[in-house]
Symmetry: C2
Subunit: 220 residues, 2 copies
């Protein structure tokens, strides 16, 4: 089985897949689709993913899998070790709920096509666009913080003492806070867990600025 991951260094949805692959020890060749240059709208990539978003995971020559959380569920089903979801349905629901606070609510509001629409169609100036990006990035982090600080299942990681889908999404959302200069001091539980995540090689090596397609001007 060969896997090809279409992604981009800066894409936080790609980050999720990169971490999950690394945690599970699955090799995938990553193909860079430069979102900042609009390469996702080229005919080559449109044939892979008609929605023109990353990531897509191509396995052998089967139809590509789309949507990062879908790819995580697929990897969990096909490569169960180490598990990235707890075993009990209530625990799994808690982890997926935390993950989707990021994936279904925070992240969709800050992706390139939204930024393009705010600028091109709505003609918002940069401060107004930044307020939008900061507001929604912060809201998702605050929601995570409220859950994590008050729920007894929170441990070293979001759910007990091993990383799950929730930690993968949390880590990506903290990178979003970095992209848009969102203050994170009011989110001590989130940041404590982020620090735990980054001690793990799979989370660390997957981070945006450590990717080969990241601009050298940012990485040095």
């Amino acid at each position: 089985m060969t896997m090809k991951l279409y992604g981009f260094w800066r894409s936080l949805a790609t980050y999720r897949v990169r971490v999950a692959l690394a945690l599970k020890g699955v090799e995938a060749h990553e193909v860079s689709v430069n979102l900042l240059k609009g390469m996702q709208h080229g005919d080559d990539y449109k044939a892979v993913n008609p929605q023109c978003v990353v990531p897509s995971l191509l396995i052998d020559d089967g139809p590509p899998l789309v949507q990062s959380m879908t790819i995580l569920e697929y990897l969990e089903e096909t490569h169960p070790q180490p598990p990235l979801l707890p075993r009990d349905p209530r625990g799994r629901a808690r982890v997926r709920g935390l993950a989707l606070i990021v994936a279904c609510e925070g992240h969709p509001l800050i992706v390139p096509r939204i930024r393009t629409y705010l600028e091109g169609e709505m003609r918002l100036d940069e401060p107004a666009r930044n307020r939008w990006l900061q507001h929604w990035t912060r809201k998702a982090l605050e929601a995570l913080e409220t859950h994590l600080a008050h729920e007894r299942e929170t441990g070293r990681f979001c759910h007990g003492d091993a990383p799950t889908f929730a930690d993968i999404c949390l880590a990506g959302q903290v990178f979003a806070a970095g992209y848009f200069n969102v203050e994170t001091t009011a989110m001590p539980t989130v940041m404590r867990i982020f620090d735990e995540c980054m001690k793990i090689d799979a989370f660390d090596r997957a981070q945006p600025l450590k990717q080969p397609d990241a601009p050298k001007s940012l990485t040095h």
Copy 2:
């Protein structure tokens, strides 16, 4: 086991859970949280869901489950019949991918908190707000159409001949098109599948305007 679903007649994320419960024959008492009156921000509901969004599913007195797609996965794990995901991992990934095109990309852009921000913070007039709502509703439907019209797994429903998560999300997104007057003639496959869905009692009875909390002025 008693289940309490906090939702709202107009909420399309609540619609998804309502359909899944009905398809699986699971009884849940629905509590209406009037999103148009801002009741989700009241202290009562904040104690249930600190993010102030619907739906939440309360099972006995355990902590509430949040995020509609999480609740669907939970119901699938705990009430496997009839299945709303195929059995093979690739098929499951296709269905979840289609579902998340709606749940992670289309729907998050049209929910009440976004509309409130566009009006209150961004001071956009109604035509500009409607352009936003129509644009993103249409984009998600077009993405579904492209997948469904070209992929061989499409059958009577999104994936073969029985309804899945994908159909539940598709049906909700078609209601969104109704809310915001989005033209659907260019999406024949989506609309054909929507019509199939609405022949099923669980999809039909769950629809927004058939809920007891829907305003009488709209239902008569």
